[in-house]
Assembly symmetry: C2
Amino acid sequence: MVRTIEIKVGRSVIEANLKLAKQLRELLNAYSVKAYEFLGSPGSGKTSLIERLISMALGEGYSGVSIGYIGGDVATRLDAERIARHGVQNVQINTGGICHLEVPHIYQAIESLDLEKLELLFIENVGNLICPADFPLGAHRRVLVVSVTEGEDKFLKHPITTRLADVIVINKVDLADAVEVDVDRMERDARGLNPRAPIVRTSARTGEGVDKLYRALMGDEG
Amino acid sequence: MVRTIEIKVGRSVIEANLKLAKQLRELLNAYSVKAYEFLGSPGSGKTSLIERLISMALGEGYSGVSIGYIGGDVATRLDAERIARHGVQNVQINTGGICHLEVPHIYQAIESLDLEKLELLFIENVGNLICPADFPLGAHRRVLVVSVTEGEDKFLKHPITTRLADVIVINKVDLADAVEVDVDRMERDARGLNPRAPIVRTSARTGEGVDKLYRALMGDEG
């Protein structure tokens, strides 16, 4: 027999962040900046996918100054250094143990960016499949990245994060056979929880599916 | 150039939890229960490793009632159902969005367990490489599980969690070649951050290294 205990969460901090997120969205709209927030576990492939998307955007005529990156991590500047190699505007936020970004962090980071020139802004949340869910950052699209190596049940086990995503990415599909994961089943689980979000299968390593993700992001804006 | 912003964390909640953790440890000691907390990302293999360890303990003469399992997850009873198949005492805690367990959750769960008969207690924290770090749960050993599929840089990017671990597990080593990860480098990074914890390489899927992990846990107790 399995005994289950349910725990309830307080909502006031979450609601305060939500108000700030709406204000930040208005600021981004005023500058015609399209913002994409990426969330997912550590190692799900968020940075690699963003690097691929930046290369694609540069290839399609966006300039370095028109693309921005804000990356949250507990420690290190490894991600921003990877992104910096592409010559785009970038800021690393080290949260020192805090498990998710909140809107004031983004305001602080944006002060270092040239908003006038910015057209695309990629925000990479702290690697964490849980905490970022309740704290939207004002982006136009929230992109959930789950890799097949995290196990077939990951969407089912994270229904809150799965439901809020505007775009769902199943990454590392090139490893599906090696880890014996049924990608169709993962996609069905995700679809069951979230009927509206496009679901894109990618491999950041081989580049498979990244063009589809690019189109899903650059298409109609909310 | 990479700009970096540092964020500071408040400590009062953390200190309150630490006091409670010490009290809980005393309670466990009074009942001669050895407790092991497992923490790591979603899909790092915590449940699979615990299943392997339970099988090994049952094989070495522990009985179903002398082994307990407390599992934290945002949603679903999938993990406790897997554990229940082994016939051990078990409780699932659904945190409904909270990203880590705290000591009061464990007290609540322990009410459903027969402490008199219990000898080994496996506590599986919510899948999260960040938040559980600051909230020890009174266990005698904290076991950090990182899988090679999460990427070579995971210890460096999570120095706080790496430093606090009493035992470090590098899991899914059977996939190291497929994901082109240098396990020696991962081990060096972990050792650099945490010189005292034993580091064990495992594959929960093949069973490789699980006997070493079992011995590392069942050896001398803190």
